[in-house]
């Protein structure tokens, strides 16, 4: 067991462990990409990485810094058009895991990557959906990776870009969404999971040395704690840290902090 690691290293490791060998994953740039390639280098060598740019079965030799990095193409199993990505893979139901993040994530896992403030004249204009809306709708399950802080985790997001477990009071089933939506949020302090009954995000696991109060202060709604609460998520192993630091992100582009 390694003694020192950063919050982003822990998030990448925890997310990697969520992936099962052989699963088909829709990969995003940054920590999701690191998590997927860490899983591929450890317990899930047959993980199938699909990037929204059209690279299927990608085996990037270098850290991709953009979703359309040429290294995703070299040596991949298939390169297809984006119409194929969204229709033949995602809408077809072939994607088992999707990764999302966002500027705001609310109590039901709704994600906002569109605007802070009002849509017409926002305080901060964010990039928008990209493929996130349809990933949240179609992936069989979605994992969110995000650092906790009360502004980023409001009770309600300013704009629902990607639907969570409940949108304006209606369930995913009522709205006709094929996928299970965001089932887990991997944060820098612990793991939140969607309550199967209510869809509310509930604290289910704490990282080593973190208190419940620290998590509570990073969430903008009265956070429920699961019983029992998993008190000590395994920290990164020496091998996981070596892979992240020396192989996957040696320049620490996505691992800083």
């Amino acid at each position: 067991m390694a003694s020192e690691y950063s919050p982003s290293e822990m998030m990448a490791v925890v997310a990697a462990r969520e992936l099962r060998d052989g699963e088909v994953v829709f990969v995003g740039i940054g920590l999701p990409n690191l998590a997927c390639n860490l899983a591929r280098a450890t317990h899930a060598p047959n993980l199938m990485l699909i990037y929204e740019s059209g690279a299927v079965g990608a085996v990037p030799e270098r850290l991709p810094v953009s979703i359309g990095d040429p290294a995703l193409v070299t040596g991949s199993l298939m390169v297809c058009s984006m119409a194929d990505v969204f229709q033949l893979f995602l809408q077809n139901g072939r994607i088992e895991v999707g990764f999302l993040g966002g500027a705001q994530i609310d109590r039901y896992g709704n994600i906002n990557t569109t605007v802070v403030g009002k849509y017409e004249r926002p305080t901060v204009r964010l990039p928008g959906s990209g493929g996130a809306a349809e990933i949240a709708i179609h992936a069989r399950r979605t994992l969110i990776i995000s650092r906790l802080n009360a502004r980023a985790f409001p009770d309600r997001v300013d704009f629902v870009t990607s639907p969570g477990q409940r949108c304006a009071g209606r369930t995913r089933k009522e709205l006709g969404m094929p996928g299970a939506g965001p089932v887990k949020i991997v944060t820098d302090k612990g793991i939140l999971e969607a309550d199967p009954e209510t869809g509310e995000m509930v604290l289910t696991a704490l990282y080593p040395g973190v208190t419940v109060d620290e998590v509570r202060s990073g969430v903008g709604w009265p956070l429920r704690i699961s019983e029992p609460l998993h008190q000590a998520v395994e920290p990164p192993t020496a091998r996981e840290l070596m892979l992240l630091r020396e192989v996957l992100d040696p320049k620490r582009l996505f691992l800083k902090g």
């Binding site: 690279a55 810094v65 984006m82 119409a83 704009f159 304006a168 995913r172």
Partner: protein, 301 residues
């Protein structure tokens, strides 16, 4: 066969007009900065510019005053920050810019409908999101077979689509490899198509590998030969993406004065792409792609 080969200046002058709906496609890969710069140089105005990812080139066109409206699905500087000219337009109205916003699937579907000359495209999408509230052109239809309520987006039929590619012949038969994005749909949806290529090849090269042809010459209006015309985007097998430039765009676009100085030096200050390349020393050393050929297949019968 009549050659469609033109200079970039002539192709833009002839095919891109004030008020046009313009698509310069390419998802990270093969974004034609050379064409965007020529549109800025020729001071086109009131354009409706459409792309999934506006990227740096549309940030520059917005800053240069070319655009009246932006149609898009993800407006960021991937991995590096924001498109600040776009953000200033939306957050401060400087300059005023209309927007029409979809998700990637929605933009792809709009171009698919346009390419098939259908009025709209059907998809299972947008339930639970606020996107249809922000954009009333995202609607629904009841399936006449199952009764399911499905999302619809309207066809996009641009006046002109500009595609960068590895190679084409003089008639515009265009071959692409690596990431394909939505270029085929965008080209077929468009009234006019300009193809910009790294290399002009003989028709026999195209005919030797017809499966690699993405866009047939029959829908192409003009062919421009412009090596390194996608820089700082990339062309698989030719040159890598200039990720350092994408990172450096963050402080440039954040400051309107620096952005204007950038345009003055690298767009208005040069007559064409060849002159631009002179201002970028060391590109070959930094970015030229290594060689990884694939084995040829047999088309015999």
């Amino acid at each position: 066969m009549i050659s469609k080969v033109r200079s970039m200046r002539d192709a833009i002058a002839e095919h891109v007009r004030d008020g046009d709906t313009v698509v310069i496609e390419g998802f990270t890969h093969l974004i034609c900065f050379a064409a965007g710069h020529e549109i800025i140089r020729q001071r086109r105005r009131d354009l409706t510019i459409c792309r999934l990812t506006p990227d740096l080139i549309y940030d520059q066109m917005i800053a240069a005053g070319c655009a009246r409206k932006l149609v898009f699905s993800w407006a960021g500087n991937p991995g590096a920050g924001s498109l600040h000219a776009f953000r200033r337009a939306i957050e401060q109205g400087d300059p005023p810019l209309d927007i029409e916003e979809y998700s990637h699937f929605g933009m792809v579907a709009r171009m698919s409908a346009g390419a098939a000359r259908l009025p709209f495209w059907v998809m299972r999408d947008y339930m639970g999101t606020d996107l249809p509230v922000a954009n009333p052109r995202i609607r629904t239809v009841v399936c006449p077979y199952t009764g399911e309520v499905l999302a619809t987006v309207p066809a996009l039929n641009p006046d002109v689509t500009i595609i960068h590619a590895q190679r084409a012949d003089a008639a515009g038969n265009t071959q692409v490899w690596g990431l394909l994005g939505v270029q085929k749909e965008a080209a077929f949806a468009s009234k006019r198509v300009i193809v910009v290529v790294e290399e002009l090849v003989d028709e026999s090269v195209i005919r030797a590998d017809p499966n690699r042809t993405l866009i047939p010459g029959m829908i192409v209006s003009a062919v421009v030969v412009e090596p390194w015309g996608a820089h700082p985007s990339y062309a698989q097998g030719y040159y890598d993406r200039d990720n350092d430039f994408y990172v450096s765009w963050e402080p440039i676009s954040r400051d309107p004065k620096k952005l204007q100085a950038y345009l003055d030096e690298f767009v208005y200050g040069v007559p064409d792409r060849q002159a631009y390349l002179v201002t970028q020393p060391g590109l070959v050393e930094r970015l030229k792609a290594d060689t990884r050929p694939c084995e040829a297949v047999s088309y015999g019968f």
